[in-house]
């Protein structure tokens, strides 16, 4: 299990940028309302982060997961995954389909037990689901029998938060995702992008330390996705949450992440980690993002080829995930 670490230097040094200026916490909201919004370069340095496992927000050590297939053989899905995520860090996990990246999120969320290894949240082992880490599903998983407001309120209601406080926080988080007007709407009345924003508000409303996002924007059109990237980055900055974001789209990972972790195809192992030192906010179409993506894609391509080979051998019709294909057309 070799883990090589590569660095992407910022291609366009900014006056007052990370090198020269004061170190700014990305959570510090001062830069959010910068004139020109996303067009103007914004100086965001990296906060100093401790690397010792004790101060990790999420610590995965030697996570293995195997399960029995229908034919009775045991399949190793995740193989000794080690990963430390620091408080407030935005980590993206990429890998070909079938590498177990979604499963890894389910394990961290406590929805499923791992076969061996340990998951620590603030040093405490995960035992089942907890509202300190909320998973956002690709298919949003909102409750169609509840209004938007009731959906956002749900986690707080389960926790026993008093009604007045719930209502206030629901309004606050709906405003945060720009959906205040839709509090009384039902889920089916919203567009795909709005639903995903409700899902984010619902997750944030339980005030988790960790947001686990499982390809949340994969089913959305490009414009909506760009918009939600901006919003997610803004919300992340404003709330200081730790985010683990799973995607098969490498450029999305670089657009958003402080660090990109590449998993191998079946069994899923950590192949490499790439710290992303590009200034924020980034754009999907930035040449720096594209350049960074190319290097990860080169490594990812081997894994995709392996997954295709495996599918041929298994007699399954191969398919390339749309995001991977789009990413390779850089």
């Amino acid at each position: 299990m070799s883990t090589n670490v590569q660095k992407f230097p910022s291609q366009f040094p900014i006056p007052g940028g990370p090198a020269a200026g004061p170190v700014l916490d990305p959570r510090f909201p001062a830069h959010i309302g910068a004139p020109g919004g996303k067009i103007g370069p914004v100086a965001v340095g990296r906060p100093i982060r401790a690397v010792s496992p004790q101060t990790s927000k999420v610590g995965l050590s030697d996570i293995c997961l195997s399960y029995r297939t229908q034919t009775g053989t045991r399949l190793l899905a995740l193989d000794h995954i080690n990963l430390q995520v620091h408080p407030g860090e935005f980590v993206c996990i990429v890998g070909p389909s079938g590498c177990g990246k979604s499963t890894l999120l389910h394990l961290i969320a406590g929805l499923q037990p791992q076969t061996s290894g340990q998951i620590l949240i603030d040093g405490t082992p995960v035992q089942g689901p907890g509202t300190d880490r909320i998973l956002i599903f690709q298919e949003h998983g909102l409750f169609p029998w509840l209004t938007v407001g009731q959906n956002v309120e749900f986690g707080m209601k389960m926790k026993g938060v008093p009604k007045a406080e719930r209502e206030e926080k629901t309004r606050y988080y709906l405003r945060l995702v720009h959906l205040a007007k839709f509090e009384k709407s039902y889920i089916h009345q919203l567009s795909g992008g709005m639903r995903q924003r409700v899902a984010i508000a619902r997750a944030l409303a339980t005030e988790p330390d960790v947001l686990l996002m499982d390809e949340p924007f994969a089913a959305l059109d490009a414009q909506t996705r760009d918009l939600l990237h901006d919003e997610l980055e803004r919300i992340w900055s404003e709330t200081g949450r730790t985010i683990i974001f799973v995607t098969h789209n490498v450029r999305e990972a670089i657009r958003l992440g402080d660090r990109v972790v590449l998993l191998t195809f079946r069994p899923g192992r950590v192949k490499s980690e790439f710290p992303v030192d590009l200034p924020r906010p980034r754009q999907l179409e930035d040449p720096t993002v594209a350049r960074a993506a190319r290097e990860i894609l080169d490594e990812l391509r081997d894994e995709i080829n392996r997954s295709l080979e495996a599918e041929y051998n298994e007699g399954v019709k191969p398919h390339v995930e749309p995001g991977v294909e789009a990413g390779s057309q850089l």
Binding site: H106, A109, L111, P129, G130, T131, I134, L135, F137, E139, G141, L142, F143, P144, W145, F154, G155, K157, M158, K159, Y186, I187, H188, Q189, R202, T206
Partner: protein
């Protein structure tokens, strides 16, 4: 408009045929009553409150029996759906038991509970329990897994998970089973009531036979049909419409 016209034509024809046959007096009126006779019987039955009492008694029984069925059936169905052992063993048993007409439980019920209301309730429960159980089992399986995961993820567990997530999430998939359970409960009730002096609609029906009063027999049959139809049309259709609107299963207008 056209549909209404078709309705009117159909029922007018049916009514006309009935009147014609009755007026021809092929059979004596006490065997084949006229529509007016039935109307009079209905009027008289409501006048002396005997129908109202019968409806109240029957409705009370069916609500209790059906209510117990729904609660038990949901628990059973959920248990069967979420436990592989139960599913393999009980699943088949439940399906085969459903072929047994619920009134077959009557002799047992008499011995166990005696000749009283509990015996009737037992038959009603046995009539509708299986439908509800099978519907719940099926609904739990058809329900998208993501709702349960999202619920647990947001901190719901145990009864709260069932009440706030699993139950509402499976409702669209079990509403037809609940409806079927209601129909079985209603039929079982009337059957059981006919077998014993019970004050309910079934007994009033049998009383008409004992008195050779076909007008009142048919009047009570109308009542039984009307109540079954009303509950179906108001309660279950309303529930279906409500679910469709909430879930967006039909284009929202």
């Amino acid at each position: 408009m056209k549909r209404a016209a078709r309705y009117i034509v159909f029922y007018a024809a049916l009514f006309g045929l009935w009147t014609l046959l009755a007026e021809l007096k092929i059979w004596p009126p006490y065997l084949f009553p006229t529509p007016w006779g039935v109307g009079q019987a209905l009027y008289a039955g409501f006048q002396d409150h005997s129908y109202l009492i019968a409806i109240r008694v029957s409705m009370q029984r069916v609500l209790i029996g059906y209510g117990i069925s729904v609660v038990l059936g949901m628990i059973l169905g959920l248990g069967v759906a979420s436990n592989k052992f139960l599913e393999e063993t009980m699943g088949g048993l439940l399906v085969s038991l459903q072929s047994l007409p619920s009134i077959c439980w009557w002799p047992l019920a008499l011995l166990w509970f005696g000749l009283n209301q509990n015996a009737i309730l037992f038959v009603v429960i046995m009539g509708s329990l299986l439908s509800v159980t099978l519907a719940m089992e099926d609904g739990r399986k058809q329900m998208p897994k993501i709702f349960g995961q999202a619920g647990r993820n947001l901190g719901a567990k145990g009864f709260k998970l069932f009440w706030y997530v699993l139950l509402p999430a499976s409702l669209p998939f079990i509403v037809s089973g609940l409806k079927q359970g209601w129909a079985f409960a209603w039929r079982s009730l009337i059957t059981a009531e006919m077998l014993y002096l019970s004050l309910g609609l079934g007994q009033v029906l049998m009383m008409g036979r004992d008195l050779n009063d076909m007008s009142s027999v048919i009047a009570v049959m109308f009542l039984i049909i009307a109540i079954g139809y009303l509950v179906d049309g108001i309660v279950f259709k309303g529930m279906e419409r409500h679910l469709q609107n909430r879930w967006g299963l039909t284009p929202a207008s």
